[in-house]
Structure formats: C-alpha cells, structure tokens
C-alpha cells in the first residue's frame, strides 16, 4: 500500500508526518507545477473550478508515481467542491488508474463514520499491527507539525511587510518549513520549530514601518493554497501589508470536530452572525463567513479586505455581490480577485499594487 494526499498549502507536510510516523508507505505528489495544472485541466470538465483541477492534477501525478490509496478531505453540498471526491473518483477510474479512496469526513456524523468504517475495513487488512499501534502517535506528530507550519506561516505574515530585503521572508519560511518536514522525533521537531521561528525573527527588519492590515477571505482552498491563488499572500506582504486569514487546516478540522467552541468555532460563529444583516439563510461553503468577516474586520479597524474566489464558484459569486455593498456600508476597501487557469500573475500584481496604493492614499487623507 502507498498512500497519497493533495498538496494544499502545507497539508502535505503533516499528512506525510502521519504516514511516516505510523510506518505506512506514502508518496508525496511532486510540487504543484504547471504540469500538474495541465494534467488537471486536461482530465476535468471545462467549467469546473481551479482548485478541483489542481487537486486532480496532484492525484494523477501521485498515482502515476505508484501511489494506490488517496486520502482526501470531503466537504458538503451545495458547493460543487463538496462533491469533489465523488467526481474525482469517476475521472480517475475513467483514466484507468487503480487506487483506493479514503474520504476524511467534513463532519463526524454516524453516516460518515459508517462509510469510513467500510473503507478502513479494507485498509486494515493491509496494515501491520505495528502500523495500527503507531497510528495514534502518527496523528499526534501530524497535529504537532500542522500547528508548527501554521505558526511559522503566521510569523512570516507578520515579518514579511517589514523585511528589508524583498523576498527574504519567503526564502527563510521555505527553509523553516523544510526543517519541520524533516523532523522525525518530537525532540527534533521542537528544535526545528524554535530554530525556524528564530530564523524568521532574526531577519533584518525595518520596525519603523507601519504595515497596512488586510484580511484575506473567500473560498478556502483558494485562500489556503499559494499555487491556486498565485501567491497573493506573499505578494501583498511584499507590498507592505500585514495579512491575516482565518482559513487554516486547524480551523477547519476543529470545526468538523466541533471542538474548541470557545476559540475557533466561535470566530466562525461570530462571522456567520454578522452576515445575517445581509443574508437571511446559509448560502453554503464560505459565503456567509466571507461576508461576516468583512464586516467584523472593518469594525476591528482593518485597512482592507482581499476576497479570493475561483472563477464560477457559486457561493463566492454570491458573496462578491454582497461584498460590494458591505464595502460601502462599512467603509472598507474590498478587492475581489477571481482566479482561473490563465496565467494572470501580472494582472493580479497590477490589481494588488493599485489596491495598496489606494490604501496609502486613504491613510494620507485621514
């Protein structure tokens, strides 16, 4: 058996950690590249969204390298993305690729547990006693690494706008993440985290700069994966913006586990509540949360909001319409970026530069 998983943001780091620690053979798909996208586009329906195509490309590359078991997070309707796993299964089967599919349910319901039970029953036959014994420890290592990756990324978001040498933060973050990825024991991991944090903190910084505060909101795959959003987070940071986002793997896992009510779930609940002034019901996926977050960010004194969505994404298209009104009502600049397979890095750069300049004008006028 060889497990594989998509490349979303730093997800591959902690998925790999679980498999590695539990001694389960795995294949990390090659880093998402133009080839990945080309494969994804070739084999999927033309009008489906960019995240679908990217993830499908990851799977094809991994299966071609010899993986035979796919682990994928499912979500739920009404977003088409909620049916991702089902559609991707059909496409991969049509391509004649052989594999098994394991969906991590978005919400732990009895139905989901039963479905997973069926899937895992098969897998269990192939796993050794040692694998099963080590699995909880693997989960723990994976969780630790996920939290470490997120902490490093959040630190990078803070220091990027005040870096003196442009691009230095990104280089150091990459290095720090690779240390976390390579750590095999809890002790080495702890050292890697500390070393990584120090690497970012010790970078040459200009503390006299006052960065703008901008929240990135929108469809979660697009927000979380730099390959899908063409590095919007990095681009904004390098233009002197301190970026915040609430979409992280831990947030979504916590949400599905319905745990940590006092902390993360409540943030989403607050966003959801705030959206009620504009939306009478749950549109689905991140729509209500996007609208609500923009409102609350304005109240919190943020300078702006960047709204990301894949082309033809239903819930976020709804959100973008409402966000123009929210921007006016709450006096907060909102930039919606629609992403698709075209190479529009230049255009995105133009829009982001103009957006940051607009914030500068606003600050000067105040």
């Amino acid at each position: 058996m060889k497990v594989t998983f998509p490349h979303l943001g730093s997800m591959h780091i902690f998925c790999k950690a679980i498999a590695e620690t539990a001694g389960i053979p795995y294949i990390v798909p090659p880093e998402t590249s133009r080839k990945t996208l080309t494969l994804g586009v070739l084999h999927s329906n033309e009008c489906i969204c960019l995240p679908f195509k990217m993830i499908l490309g990851n799977f094809i590359e991994a299966l071609q390298m010899g993986a035979d078991t796919i682990v994928m997070v499912g979500s739920g309707p009404p977003c088409r993305l909620g049916l991702y796993d089902l559609v991707q299964k059909v496409i991969l089967e049509d391509m004649g690729l052989h594999y098994r599919w394991l969906t991590i349910p978005p919400r732990l319901t009895w139905q989901a547990i039963w479905k997973n039970h069926e899937e895992t029953k098969e897998l269990r036959k192939e796993l050794s006693a040692r694998n099963i014994f080590l699995f909880p420890y693997g989960l723990w290592m994976g969780w630790k690494k996920m939290m470490a990756c997120e902490a490093l990324e959040q630190l990078a978001m803070k220091v990027r706008p005040i870096e003196i040498k442009r691009g230095e933060t990104q280089k150091r973050l990459k290095k720090a993440l690779s240390w976390v990825d390579e750590a095999k024991t809890p002790r080495v991991l702890e050292e890697a985290i500390q070393k990584g944090k120090a690497l970012l903190q010790e970078m040459e910084q200009d503390r006299s700069r006052i960065p703008f505060k901008v929240a990135i909101i929108g469809e979660l795959y697009t927000v979380m994966d730099p390959h899908i959003n063409r590095g919007v987070e990095q681009k904004l940071g390098e233009l002197g913006v301190e970026v915040t986002r609430t979409s992280w793997f831990s947030t979504h896992i916590m949400r599905s586990l319905r745990k940590n009510k006092a902390d993360q779930t409540s943030e989403r609940t607050r966003f959801f509540e705030a959206s009620k002034a504009y939306l009478g019901y749950d549109v689905g996926a991140e729509c209500n949360v996007s609208v609500g977050e923009a409102i609350l960010r304005s109240k919190e004194g943020y300078d702006g909001v960047v709204h990301l969505m894949p082309f033809a994404c239903m819930p976020e298209t709804t959100a973008s319409g409402i966000l123009t009104k929210v921007g006016k009502d709450w006096d907060i600049p909102i930039l919606t970026l629609i992403l698709d397979e075209q190479e529009i890095e230049g255009r995105i750069q133009t829009l982001l530069e103009a957006f940051v300049e607009m914030l500068e004008w606003k600050r000067r006028a105040a």
């Binding site: 133009r34 006016k328 530069e353 300049e357 607009m358 006028a365």
Partner: protein, 318 residues
C-alpha cells in the same frame, strides 16, 4: 528645463509622452504593437524624437501598462507603476473634481472611483477580456471595416440590433445570426457598441457608484459609436480629455516628475538604432519548466526574467 518621458505599453498599443516640468506635452505618440512591443517602443522613441526635432535631456523615465517591466528594462526606466494609479494621477491633475474614470483599452477595461481627488475604489476585468477594445477590433476586421471608421458607421444606424452582451464569443454567434438574416452593417455595428457598453457596465462597473463628472479615456474613447452607447446607458454626459489616448503615459511622466530623481537610467534616444531582441529558454531545474526570457541590447544581456524562483532574474531596476 527638466523633461520627463512616460511610456505606457498596453496589450494592443504603445503610448509615449514627453512632458516638461510645467506639464506641457512636448511630444506624444500612439502606435499599434502588432504583437511586437519591443519594436513598438523603439518606433515610439523614434517618433517622439522626430516631433521634438532634436534630442532633449530627459530627467526621468516611468513605464506603465501590462508590459511595464519589459519597457523599463528596455529603455532604462526609473519607475515602474501600475496603470490604474497612472490613469488616476493623470486625471486628478487634469480635472480635480472628477468622480469617475471610465477607461476602455485594448485588452483591459477599468473603472476608477475618485472622491476628493483620491482613489477610493476601482475595478478591472480579470479573467475575461469581454467588454474591451479587442472585441471591436476583431469584429471590425471580420466585417472588413477599419476600426477608425467603425464608430462613424455605428452612429448612422437606425435600429441597432440587440446582441447578447454576456460574453464576446456568445455575442459573435448572435451577431453572425443577425448578419445572416439580413440586418444592415450599420445596425449590427451599433448593436455591437451597445453590447460592449452593457458588458462593461455589468461586469466591470457592477456595484460601483458612477457619479459625474465622469472622464472617459483609453483608445476606445475615440469611438463615436461607443460614446453614444455609453451616454445612452449612463444617461449623463462625460468629459473626454484632449489627450484621452495617452493618459496612462501622462500619468507615468507625472509620477516620475514627483519622484524627484537625482539621476536617470534612460538609455537615450539612440535606442531605435540599437539592436534589441529577446531570447528565451526553458529552464529544466524543476517541473515548472519556466520559460526564461533574456533581453539583449546591442548583443549584451541587460535583463532576465520569467523564472518563478528568480534564479536568473536580474535587471537595472530591482
């Protein structure tokens, strides 16, 4: 007196402006790229030199437009600025009370919302080039009329036909249908103008507050058919600046003037006589297979870009 050069290299046309310290336009040109921006820039420099009569000292060069980086590497630009800011700067000096800028260019269309001479909101088409000049260009070519005559033909129409405005590819299907059932060319052309304006207002301006005074600029602003269609849809009149076609270049020149540089990197007016070319290669270091581009001026590599990891990237300006 100090002089500044502003260059705006868009997807379809290249615009150059030489402006002096007191914002007088000494020379300007507007030429088609025909897919060869380097040649267009060289040609543009040649043309402004002819208009100037002799070389004048240049104290700063700024570039804008979608090929602003290429232009800066080629001519030795001192400042690279996005076209949204450049257009806004040009209008704020021209008409400080302006509240809306409508800019329709070849591949881009933008709306910029100004209040108290400050940009407060903007939008630009992203994934799709519907509602831009290139659509008119294509259809003009298909109908065998020059783009310059297009607008005048449109205002002669008696009954502009209805053409679906959602997508230009859909619009073309609709338009061919209208042509095959016998509508006159004038009515079809006017219908196209209506469809482009509706597309622009629905896609780019959606949710934006379009208040007067409105400034209409960009290459398409010269098209009388579009002017009429826009006026009809907005139900207000707008102002077309004298230099409507080179506003981006003017904005760039103004920005470099404001930057107060001590020394310019300008390669000089003899650039058109130098051999300028690019060569590309595919990097094989990773799966991205970046297409790396090198710019050569007089057989010397002056800049290199196109690599995602910036392994080869270099130029005089970064």
């Amino acid at each position: 007196m100090a002089n500044y050069l502003g260059i705006d290299v868009g997807s379809i046309t290249t615009k150059l402006v030489v402006m002096n310290e007191s914002d007088q336009i000494l020379a300007k040109c507007y030429i088609r790229n025909s897919g060869r921006p380097i040649e267009a820039i060289q040609q543009g420099i040649e043309e402004v030199l002819t208009q100037l009569g002799k070389t004048v000292p240049i104290d700063g060069v700024a570039t804008t437009g979608s090929a602003r980086h290429l232009a800066a590497y080629l001519v030795g630009g001192d400042l690279i600025k996005n076209e949204i800011t450049a257009h806004a700067i040009a209008v704020i000096d021209f008409l400080p009370e302006a509240k809306t800028i409508i800019e329709i260019g070849g591949q881009d269309s933008k709306v910029i919302v100004l209040r108290n001479s400050v940009v407060v909101d903007f939008a630009m088409n992203t994934v799709c080039a519907a509602g831009t000049g290139s659509f008119l260009d294509q259809q003009a070519a298909r109908l065998g009329i020059s783009i310059e005559a297009f607008g005048d033909l449109a205002i002669k129409a008696n009954h502009p036909v209805r053409i679906a405005g959602r997508c230009t590819v859909f619009a073309e299907t609709d338009m061919i249908h209208k042509q095959q059932i016998g509508h006159s060319v004038e009515d079809i052309v006017a219908g196209l103008c209506d469809s482009l304006v509706k597309n622009y207002l629905n896609n780019v301006c959606r949710g934006k507050e379009i208040l007067s005074p409105i400034v209409f600029q960009g290459g398409v602003a010269a098209n009388r058919g579009i002017q009429k269609a826009l006026e009809r849809e907005l139900e207000v009149s707008f102002i077309i600046p004298e230099h409507f076609d080179v506003m981006g270049a003017i904005g760039a020149a103004k920005l470099v003037k404001k930057a107060k540089l001590s020394k310019t990197q300008f390669r000089g007016f003899d650039l058109p006589r130098k051999s300028c070319s690019t060569r590309g290669f595919e990097c094989g270091e990773c799966e991205n297979q970046c297409e790396v581009i090198e710019l050569l001026v007089d057989h010397q590599v002056v800049a290199c870009w196109g690599d995602l990891c910036e392994r080869y990237h270099h130029s005089h300006i970064d």
